[in-house]
């Protein structure tokens, strides 16, 4: 009885192996031809083309239930209104790499004109994004980039260099120029956090920051509870810690909340990138002296305008192309299709009440 079953099973297994091996003999990481579906480039742009109306602009953020995301796409909604386009927001409940793919597929089916995406994994979304581009949809990555060869432009909130430098500057000021600092980041493979941390490390290696010591980089996975507990862990493990730098809105809020309710309050400074509305309480109660952020609504706003410019043929994603983005003024496409929003704003007890997002 079992024997016949095994026979069938092994036959099945063998045929699978054949399927696998027949394709080619011995593909390794080094020999891999990794071109993917070649992205179509070289489309010609007409800088004077009129912006089309009635464009279907869809936003696909990392996940839906995130206040930062809400503010970002909120800006996109405003822009879509100004452009007389159709705005749509879809997204997964969790920030997992694969869950975005189904949504991209749905958007392809719905024949959107522009997809604005904050990629959870730069590569996992790539095949689907390329299918979308083959279907004539323009892809604008924002916040967190997708692979260069599967999107048209990327809206960068600030230059990586600029953010890294300003994070180190704030940390140094708060630490008084010397002492232990730690980083509480999002996930270990978060594209932009990692880039910023790299810059921070280079900055810290410079002689003027020699007395600042980065003791650990912890990861709160952009999960409130996890970040909260990681902050606890940092303070337990490093009693002499002077500053926690958290380049993510979830992390900085969680760390601030923990410190404000513990006896570390006043001894440890928190800084990083945060939303004024979430941080107001901790700035007012003195836990947080200063933190920074660009205006997230502007990212979505700019993404929508960039998408409209792409769909109308004003730009094609080539370096040097220019387009107007409503109230934000004129932008130029940089190297590798990057469009930089501008420098971040620093928030302190003095100015925080002027901001509402």
């Amino acid at each position: 009885m079992l024997r016949s079953h095994r026979r069938l099973l092994s036959a099945g297994a063998a045929s699978l192996l054949v399927l696998g091996i027949a394709a080619c003999g011995g593909t390794t990481k080094d020999s891999a031809d990794n071109s993917g579906a070649a992205a179509q480039t070289g489309a010609s742009a007409d800088p004077n083309a009129k912006l089309k109306e009635g464009l279907k602009i869809a936003f696909l953020p990392k996940q839906l239930n995130n206040p930062y995301t809400d503010v970002e796409v909120g800006g996109g909604k405003v822009a879509a209104g100004e452009l007389k386009g159709e705005y749509k927001l879809v997204g997964p409940n969790d920030a997992s790499a694969s869950s975005q793919v189904s949504y991209i597929n749905t958007l392809i089916q719905q024949q959107q004109d522009v997809i604005g995406i904050a990629a959870n994994d730069p590569n996992a979304v790539c095949p689907s994004l390329n299918q979308a581009r083959q279907a004539g949809i323009k892809i604008v990555a924002f916040d967190s980039d997708a692979s260069k060869d599967c999107r048209d432009v990327f809206i960068n909130q600030a230059t990586t260099q600029g953010i890294g430098e300003s994070l180190v500057k704030m940390a140094s000021e708060l630490a008084g120029g010397s002492g232990e600092i730690a980083i509480l980041s999002a996930t270990p493979n978060a594209t932009n956090q990692n880039a910023w941390i790299e810059v921070m490390k280079t900055e810290l290696a410079k002689p003027e920051n020699a007395k600042l010591k980065l003791v650990k980089t912890a990861y709160g996975n952009d999960d409130d509870q996890k970040s909260f507990q990681e902050a606890q862990g940092l303070l337990q493990s490093y009693p002499n810690l002077k500053v926690i730098v958290s380049p993510t809105t979830v992390g900085i809020a969680a760390a601030s909340r923990y410190v404000s309710s513990s006896n570390y309050k006043g001894k440890v400074a928190i800084t990083g990138l945060g939303l004024p509305n979430q941080m107001r309480e901790y700035v007012k109660d003195g836990t947080v002296k200063k933190f920074a952020l660009w205006n997230p609504a502007d990212i979505g706003y700019l993404a929508a305008y960039a998408g409209a410019a792409l769909a109308s043929g004003q730009i094609s994603g080539q370096q040097g192309e220019k387009f107007k983005a409503g109230k934000l003024g004129e932008y130029t496409v940089g190297a590798a299709g990057e469009i930089v929003l501008g420098p971040p704003t620093e928030f302190t007890a003095e100015n925080i009440d002027q901001f509402n997002f």
């Binding site: 079992l2 189904s102 095949p127």
Partner: protein, 343 residues
Amino acid sequence: MSDLARGGKQKDNAVLEVRRRLATWDSIIVLLTVFVLVVASFSVTNFGTSRNFTFMILDLLPIVLVALPMTFIIVTGEIDLSVASTLGLASSIMGYLWNQGLSIESIIPICVVVGAVLGAINGFLVTGLGLPSLAVTIGTLALYRGLAFVVLGDGAVADFPFTYTGWVTGTIGDGPVPNVLVLILVLAAIFGVILHATPFGRSLFAIGANAQAAHFSGIRVARTKFWLYVVSGAVAGLVGVLWTLRYSSARADNGAGLELAVVAAVLLGGVSIFGGKGSLPGVLAGVVLLAALQNALRLQDVSGQALNIVTGALLVLSVLLPNIATSIRTTWQRRKLRRAATV
């Protein structure tokens, strides 16, 4: 009895037989699935397109493959909740080995074997030590997922060769039929034949309905269950490979939560959670029904949140409705008996 009368009676029997067959949950689910597909094709814009068909097949690929051995396991009255974690660990190992410079042709069989070994651990704990499969596989669910993170951390390995990633996401001759559909059909046919037309398949139902009687009939209950877990693990390992290739991304969290979708689909397909009952066509219909509902609702811009409610409700209803039907039938029979007695 005259020939005529016999013919009439046979016809009656045939009608009864057809009605009885149609009244089983798995045929209801098949009909329901066809109904949903037809209605959605006509009423949901873009549902009936060939491209959407391709997407749907790709979306249901991991669920349907894992559901095949899961059906066997649930038919024998056990469960394997660790499949999604096995998938994740296989994916992690795939990424790790790829970074180590191994060729993809050797990685794929390794991942399948790793899956089989993980399944064998489940099988040993359940059959060798006699532990309850629910508790064991909740434990290995956490363990395997944890190991997946240990192997690859939170990072992702992405640069898999296009020859393979393209095959998984591609279609036959760039037509509407996805390559993986062939794989699904072949495996489903193999599992279907084994379950419904081999002595081994017969023994699975006997084990699930009454393990003791199966043992008394010379069926090697423990050994059979052990091998089912091995197969379940191996398939989960294979799906880990396919998942990784489909998303060009080996990650430790790949497939998290998939076990719930698989169990939901299997139960929805009419397999009894107590074992002993179920059919593979029913399960396939269950998988397609869930995938089609999700796809159609998403195209209608119904949020993923509402999909959760639908999935959960379907899962409960798939067991609840047959129960209600049975109890209505018994009450009715009792009434009839009482009436007959009082007359």
